[in-house]
C-alpha cells in the first residue's frame, strides 16, 4: 500500500497531528512556566542522616554492598579478596579508563580483560558519575572508558566513586547530567543502578541475579582518583 515505511510514518503523523491540533489549544512556548514545581519525597525514615549513612542504609535495602577504601590502590586487593571468596575467575573487565586500568591489578593476582571478552562468570569494574544517598542508586554514563556492557554483562560488578561524589537526593542528579547534555555531550546511555539485578517472576519469590550482575558493590575512595 505504501512505498516505504517513511511514507507510512508520514501519513500516520499527518493524521495524528491533525487530530491533536484540532483538540488542543494553541499555546505559544515557553510552556515550562506552567509546569508544577518538582516535589521531593519527604522521607518517613532516616532522612536527617548524613549522606553517607543514608547511602549505606538505602544500598542495603536494595541488596547492594558498600565498602569504604582508603585509596584507589586498595581497589585491586579488595576485588581480589571478594572474587576469591566467591570462587570466581581471577579476572576483571575494564573499559579504556586509564585511571582504573593503571591500578596494581597484577600485584593483587588479577588479570584485566577487555569488555568484549566478558564471559558468564566474569567480574567488572567501572567508574561511576555519582551515587544518590536517598535511593541507594549509582549513576553511570556510557562511553568507551566505562562501557555499558560492563554494567550489565558481568556477574560481579564493582563501581568506583570518590567520597564527594555522593549527592543527597535523586533530583540532584539532573543538575549533574543536564549541563553535560546542554554542552553537546550526548551520553548515549545513562544507567541509574540500584542494587544487583533481581526477578520475582517465579512464584512471586524475589531471586537476586536475573539478567544483570548477581553482586553489586560500590567502592568509595578517599582523595584524588
Amino acid at each position: 500500500m505504501y512505498e516505504t515505511l517513511e511514507a507510512l510514518s508520514r501519513e500516520s503523523r499527518n493524521r495524528i497531528m491533525a487530530r491533536l491540533k484540532q483538540t488542543l489549544a494553541v499555546v505559544p512556548p515557553p510552556l515550562a512556566l506552567e509546569l508544577p514545581d518538582i516535589v521531593k519525597p519527604d522521607p518517613a525514615w532516616g532522612g536527617k542522616d548524613d549522606p553517607l549513612s543514608l547511602l549505606r542504609v538505602s544500598m542495603m535495602r536494595m541488596k547492594g554492598d558498600l565498602t569504604e577504601l582508603e585509596g584507589a590502590d586498595a581497589i585491586p586487593w579488595h576485588v581480589s579478596k571478594i572474587l576469591e571468596a566467591e570462587g570466581a575467575p581471577m579476572e576483571v573487565a575494564i573499559g579504556s579508563d586509564e585511571g582504573l586500568r593503571s591500578l596494581p591489578w597484577d600485584e593483587a593476582g588479577l588479570s584485566v580483560i577487555d569488555p568484549s571478552g566478558i564471559a558468564s562468570e566474569s567480574a567488572g569494574v567501572s567508574r561511576a558519575l555519582c551515587a544518590v544517598a536517598e535511593t541507594g542508586s549509582v549513576v553511570f554514563c556510557s562511553g568507551s572508558a566505562n562501557p555499558t556492557t560492563v554494567n550489565f554483562m558481568v556477574k560481579y560488578h564493582f563501581a568506583v566513586i570518590r567520597r564527594e561524589q555522593i549527592v543527597p537526593s535523586f533530583e540532584d542528579l539532573w543538575g549533574i547530567i543536564r549541563p553535560r547534555y546542554m554542552e553537546g555531550d550526548r551520553m548515549r546511555a545513562v544507567n541509574i543502578i540500584s542494587g544487583p539485578s533481581a526477578t520475582a517472576d517465579v512464584e512471586a519469590t524475589l531471586t537476586v541475579g536475573a539478567h544483570g550482575p548477581c553482586r553489586f558493590e560500590l567502592l568509595l575512595i578517599d582523595g584524588q582518583f
Binding site: 495524528i16 556510557s142 540500584s194
Partner: protein, 470 residues
C-alpha cells in the same frame, strides 16, 4: 489488539475454578499490596508526589502536539529516527520493515505493553524473524504459548514445577535438576544470555519519552531491557504517544511514584536514559536507534471525556487493589490491559460492542482511585462507560430487563419500599432462615458462597420509622 475469550463472565468462571491460579494470585496480590503500602509509607508526602506527577502529565497532554514535535526534533538531532503509527498494523509494518532493511533474523524483546497491544510478536514471526521475550515472566508465558496474566507477574498463574517442566521441554541442556527457584532463574539467565548475544535487533518499550533531550527512559528490575538496548546492532523503542514528558525532572516526578506503586521500592534496580545510537566504533551500544510512536485511538481518547486515562503509567496498582481482579486474574479480561485501567482502556480502543462487558467488572469500592499514583478517577470513568453502554443499548437481554425494571421501581419510592420488603420476606422463606449455598450462582460460575439469610425487614423500613419518630 484482540480479545480472545468470549466474555468476562466465562473467563472469570474459568479463573475461579483454577486452583493453582487462585493460590498464586492470592499470594501475589497480598505481597504487592503489602509492598505498595510500604512504598507509599516511605515518603511522608506521597500525596504531594502524586499530585506533582499527575500535574506534569496533565500539562503534557494539554500540549501533546508541541512536546511530540520537540521530542521528534531532538531524537533526529541526536542521530535517531522517529516513526508514527496510527494503527497497530502500522506499528507492526514499520518494525518489520526496519528489521528487513537490516536483514535481521533474530530479535530480543524487553517487556513492552505496546507491543502486546499491537501483537508485534506474531507480525515478526510471520515475517520470518525469530523473536524472544527476555523478561523472565514474559519468556515463560511465551514458551507456554499463553498470555501474561498480570502486568508485573506475567507468569504468576504457574508454579515452579510447571515452569521447570517447560524449561526441560524447550531447553536442550541434558539431564539436570530444576527443583528450586534459583536454579530455574539461573537457567533462564543462561539461555537468554545466548539469545541477547545472537540477536540482530533489540525491541523495548518506554516508561517515558523526554522531549528536551530526545531520550527514552526505561525501568526494569532484571536488566533485560538494558541488554536489549546495548548488545544488538539495532534498538527499536515502541511507545504510545502519551508517554512523552517535557523535561528530565518531569520524568523524575513519574519515577518517584512509579516504583513505589509497583514494588514499594524507592527506585527500581535499573533506570536507564537512552539517547541516540552509539557514539563511535569504540562505544558499546546499537548502530541504529529508532522510536516508533503508536496512536491506536489515543488521539481520539484525548479529545473526549476519557482523557484522564492517558495519564496511566501502567504501574498495576489499580488491579492489585481491585477485589474483582483479585479473584479472576488477568486472563479473564481477555485483553492486553486488565483490571480497572484495562476496563477503561480496552472498550475505548476496541469498541463498546467488543469489550463493553469489562466496565461491568467493577464492585464500586473505589480503591483503584485511592491508590492510583496518577490520580485517575477510574470509578468515574467506569461509570461513564457503563452509561455509554446503556445508552447504546448494548448488553444481554435479561440484564437490560432487570435494570429497566429496577429503574422503574426505584423511581417510585412507595413501590420500591413495598417491593424490597416483599423480596426480603420471600428470600428469607426460600432460604429457610439459614445460611445456604446459593445454588444458581454455584451452577453458573463455580462460586461456592454462603449468603446470610435476610432478616425479614429491609434496611429502609426501620430507618423510615426512626425518621418518623424524630
Amino acid at each position: 489488539m484482540e480479545k480472545n475469550e468470549k466474555d468476562f463472565l466465562h473467563g472469570a468462571s474459568a479463573a475461579m475454578a483454577d486452583k493453582q491460579l487462585q493460590a498464586n494470585l492470592g499470594r501475589l496480590m497480598m505481597i504487592l499490596r503489602t509492598m505498595h503500602s510500604a512504598g507509599v509509607g516511605s515518603a511522608a508526602n506521597f500525596e504531594d508526589l502524586r499530585r506533582c506527577a499527575s500535574e506534569v502529565k496533565r500539562h503534557t497532554l494539554e500540549h501533546l502536539d508541541f512536546y511530540l514535535e520537540t521530542f521528534e526534533k531532538k531524537v533526529i538531532e541526536k542521530g535517531g529516527k522517529v516513526y508514527y503509527a496510527e494503527t497497530c498494523e502500522d506499528l507492526n509494518s514499520i518494525v518489520v520493515e526496519i528489521c528487513r532493511r537490516r536483514g535481521a533474523r533474530i530479535a530480543v524483546k524487553g517487556k513492552s505493553m505496546v507491543s502486546e497491544e499491537t501483537g508485534l510478536n506474531r507480525a515478526l514471526e510471520k515475517a520470518g524473524i525469530e523473536v524472544t521475550e527476555t523478561d523472565m515472566g514474559e519468556y515463560i508465558v511465551q514458551l507456554a504459548h499463553e498470555r501474561p496474566s498480570h502486568l508485573v507477574g506475567p507468569a504468576i498463574h504457574k508454579n515452579k514445577e510447571q515452569i521447570a517442566d517447560l524449561f526441560m521441554k524447550h531447553h536442550d541442556l541434558g539431564p539436570r535438576s530444576l527443583d528450586n527457584i534459583p536454579s530455574i532463574v539461573a537457567e533462564g539467565r543462561k539461555v537468554l544470555r545466548e539469545k541477547f548475544i545472537k540477536a540482530d535487533v533489540g525491541i523495548t518499550g518506554a516508561n517515558a519519552l523526554i522531549a528536551e533531550t530526545g531520550s527514552v527512559l526505561l525501568v526494569t528490575n532484571e536488566g533485560n531491557g538494558d541488554l536489549c538496548s546495548t548488545l544488538p546492532k539495532v534498538h527499536i523503542v515502541v511507545s504510545g504517544i502519551e508517554k512523552v514528558v517535557p523535561r528530565l525532572e518531569d520524568a523524575g516526578a513519574i519515577l518517584r511514584v512509579l516504583a513505589r506503586s509497583i514494588t514499594g521500592q524507592a527506585m527500581s534496580c535499573y533506570t536507564s536514559i537512552f539517547t541516540g545510537p552509539r557514539e563511535g566504533p569504540e562505544d558499546a551500544g546499537p548502530e541504529e536507534f529508532h522510536v516508533v510512536l503508536l496512536d491506536n485511538h489515543r488521539s481520539e481518547i484525548l479529545a473526549g471525556e476519557f482523557r484522564d486515562i492517558l495519564r496511566c503509567i501502567r504501574c498495576s496498582s489499580c488491579m492489585n487493589h481491585c477485589p474483582v481482579f483479585g479473584v479472576t486474574g488477568g486472563h479473564a479480561y481477555g485483553s492486553v490491559y486488565v483490571g480497572p485501567m484495562g476496563s477503561v482502556l480496552t472498550p475505548l480502543m476496541e469498541g463498546m460492542r467488543e469489550a463493553g462487558d469489562l466496565p461491568d467488572a467493577c464492585c464500586g469500592d473505589d480503591r483503584c482511585a485511592e491508590v492510583c499514583p496518577m490520580m485517575i478517577p477510574l470509578p468515574d470513568l467506569l461509570r461513564r462507560l457503563r452509561t455509554r453502554k446503556w445508552n447504546m443499548g448494548i448488553g444481554s437481554r435479561p440484564l437490560k430487563w432487570g435494570l429497566s425494571a429496577y429503574m422503574k421501581t426505584a423511581l417510585r419510592p412507595r413501590l420500591f419500599h413495598a417491593a424490597s420488603g416483599a423480596a426480603a420476606v420471600l428470600a428469607s422463606m426460600l432460604q429457610g432462615g439459614k445460611k445456604r449455598p446459593v445454588s444458581s450462582l454455584n451452577r453458573m460460575h463455580g462460586i461456592k458462597t454462603h449468603l446470610p439469610s435476610p432478616q425479614g425487614k429491609p434496611f429502609f423500613s426501620p430507618l423510615g420509622r426512626k425518621r418518623r419518630e424524630l
